[in-house]
Symmetry: C2
Subunit: 481 residues, 2 copies
């Protein structure tokens, strides 16, 4: 294990965190929030100084292999969460540091689960809360890779550990260029949404924080009333940008570089859009027939908003879909688990994994009937490597086991099945609200400290796609060989 | 596809069904149940005649490959269920043929879910109901293999398609001998339990039907009060025999043939017993501390009974564990999903699959950290073939997908999440009762016909370990190539 390089990178993370804190500091200055000015200033300066000292000692060896890549990624997210939680405790928004940590991890992992019963707070802390969605959406290390030169060419291991999906595509040979392109697209989408939201009547502050929560597919709201209180044009803009951010960003890269053919070849995006519009149509018919919505347009608007919100695991709501027909509710719950596309800011299991598993099952059935025929799994017209199929299968097993163990530990708090089961589902899939006590009108405050730590682990494991967190806690990782 | 051979085997199944119906006929004669005498006599004679005619036309080609093996297995279970349902409708015990079919499939697959609110009925129909557990426990085709000579040596494909577990061990080179040994052990266990139950004070009828439900790990009860009304010695005997029937029968073969070393090498059985006694101890402490049971002995007795009942997916209950502490309830629910050992009469996902997946995850984590080290999965000190690991992974995917699709269809009936989710879990794992409307005090009568067919499919898929049912409905199976 290259401890020197790990230390070096983690101090870079501290430095970046200090930089990111400048934005809420500016917000605090604008709104004259004295306590917040002091808090953000103190954290920012401490981070910048500590970071600068830490990175001034260059590591002797810059080699970084898969193992270090996963460990650095896990530790990066833990450190930025620990620092990011400080504003919540120091300003008294949360009752304890554990609650602050929960809220920050929920923000960074774009989960959107909250321990707060009242989300109306200091403007600058609110800004920071929603800004964590934006940071976490594309990833902290991808950001560092984009803005800082990395010598040695080992940065691929960092990229791979932080990016969602069964396999990471580099658009261009250089990892740094890929990271830059990703952030440029992300920035472009963010800016466009802010401008459009301003046109629909939101003020700059509202437009900014809502955009952070949308493009990060996080789902933190800034008012207790939520998105339901926004006007229809705003809701339509939010719908469109949730859809866009649930798509694999490689599609945008191909579109920008004038390769529409390659963009259209993506099987996962086709499944994503088909599932989305298919489900939205079915649910629209159901809620229209159940007289929940008055006009066909309204039915489709609210249905699509809900479907998009759950598929991208954002967690916004215009209507409380818990009152909808059971088939609609179940369909929404299942779409949550599947999640969005790999390489997007959305969470969940990822549709490409679902596709690979479905194709692997089909091949297995054919293999049993015709043992001599050995077939490969194809995606986007290309054969998928058998190691990827194996990894995806192992991913499902890990996912199920983490789910089971978490549910068992959380159950010790004595709440009902629905609350326990959906609190784990909502955090592990980075969805946000669950059902029962953790439903859209409830929150996660009632859990014990142990359960909160389990759910925080689940949020991080879900965002980082299990491996970094599991490798961090695997004894084999730390063995000397 | 060798249709001649399929036809021949299915008529054999009809013949055997006619033979099996003679036992409830005798019961009807003993208890002077006139209607039942006519019904069982009519079915039995029709089956014997039709079967005899059908098998008199020998197939030209006796070759039977994997594909035919799975198809015959699936069709065998469907046919015996369709005939086995007749006594329930013809005697008026169930309201419709669909309900009768549900009850029969539940019996044969050793699920134990019921559509009846009152299980006290004609003695002979009750006998047949519990006897289906005994038939299904070890398998219909294994029975045919045991009693009838099969020319051609292709019988392995039948054995493999019907036996539970990721890989089938033949004790002896000849499949017929293996099937015979399995049924001899099964018969020995059955006889021993009947004698022991007679000693604890049950009459012969009670002892017989209770034993059928125990050794098949089915769980149908003969009184509305259930096993809770039995005395403690009877409950202890039932506990012991549930434990015995959840163990891989190869262990008994090794013990009988004086190879205790081989019997002790079984990793799955070790995990089974460790999980069982570990969980029972934890739950005993919890319910003792919650003052649910008066003495430490009682606590352990009821705790062990419940743990054994859910792990073997029998579904018997001495106490209603829905009133126990949530941690105990969750632990029991999870143990249900894992199920018992491969090669036993128990259901569920099977512990050997859990073990293989856990070991595959461990190897995957090691592989990511040390990409040059390629490790194999070991079970019982032997390396597991990579195709088996692949099949087990595919099994998990298929299991999850069948679960999801079934839950979605069942949700159209409009019941709550808990009812829908646990009705699928209870049938797919061959457990019996679920929670909510299908809890131990409820039943499955309220579902629509469509949902009932989905749950019947799930019960058959669960008992036959998914593949035969999926292959039966896969278009590729029926393609000419």
């Amino acid at each position: 294990m290259n401890y020197g390089m790990i230390r070096f990178l983690l101090f870079r993370v501290v430095q970046i965190t200090g930089l990111l804190m400048l934005l809420p500091l500016v917000t605090a200055l604008i709104y004259h929030e004295t306590l917040c000015i002091i808090v953000f200033m103190a954290i920012s300066v401490s981070c910048l100084v500590a970071g600068a000292i830490g990175v001034s000692f260059k590591p002797a060896n810059v080699a970084l292999y898969a193992r270090e890549g996963f460990v650095v990624t896990a530790l990066t997210w833990i450190i930025i969460s620990m620092i990011g939680a400080l504003p919540f405790t120091l300003t008294g928004v949360t009752k304890s540091y554990v609650d602050a940590l929960f809220e920050t991890i929920s923000g960074l992992t774009t989960t959107g689960s909250t321990i707060l019963s009242n989300v109306e707070m200091y403007m600058s802390v609110q800004f920071w809360r929603c800004f964590t969605h934006w940071i976490g959406g594309m990833g902290v290390l991808v950001f560092i890779l984009a803005i800082m030169p990395m010598s040695g060419g080992y940065s691929m291991h960092l990229m791979r550990a932080e990016s969602p999906g069964p396999s990471v595509g580099k658009f261009v040979p250089k990892v740094r260029e890929t990271a830059k392109i990703l952030y440029l697209i992300y920035f472009g989408i963010t800016l466009t949404q802010v401008i459009l939201l301003l046109f629909t009547g939101l003020n700059l502050y509202e437009a900014l924080v809502t955009t952070f929560a949308t493009v990060g597919t996080g789902g933190f709201g800034i008012t207790n009333a939520g998105i339901g209180a926004f006007n229809t044009p705003s809701q339509i803009v939010i719908t469109v940008f949730m859809i866009l951010c649930g798509i694999n960003f490689s599609v945008y890269y191909y579109l920008i570089t004038m390769r529409p053919k390659e963009a259209l070849k993506n099987d996962e995006v086709k499944l994503y859009l088909a599932l989305m519009f298919g489900s939205a149509t079915i649910i629209a018919i159901l809620i229209y027939r159940a007289n929940i919505t008055a006009t066909p347009f309204e039915s489709f608007h609210h249905s699509l908003f809900s479907v998009v919100s759950v598929m991208t695991t954002t967690g916004f709501a215009t209507l409380d879909f818990n009152t909808w027909p059971q088939f609609a509710r179940t369909l929404l719950a299942l779409l949550m688990l599947f999640g969005a596309c790999a390489g997007s800011t959305g969470g969940g299991f990822k549709l490409s994994r679902v596709l690979i598993l479905l194709k692997a099952i089909k091949n297995e059935l054919i293999y049993i009937v015709h043992p001599k025929s050995v077939k490969r799994v194809y995606m986007d017209g290309q054969p998928v490597e058998t190691t990827v199929v194996k990894s995806v299968s192992a991913y499902l097993s890990m996912y199920v086991i983490i789910f089971i163990v978490s549910t068992l530990i959380v159950s010790a708090d004595g709440f009902d099945y629905e609350t326990n089961f959906t609190s784990v589902a909502a955090t592990l899939n980075n969805i946000g609200p669950g059902l029962g006590m953790v439903g859209p009108t409830g929150n996660f405050a009632h859990f014990s400290v142990l359960s909160k730590f389990v759910l925080m682990f689940d949020m991080l494991a879900g965002r980082l796609e299990l491996l970094p967190m599991l490798i961090l806690f695997s004894p084999d990782t730390w063995s000397k060989r």
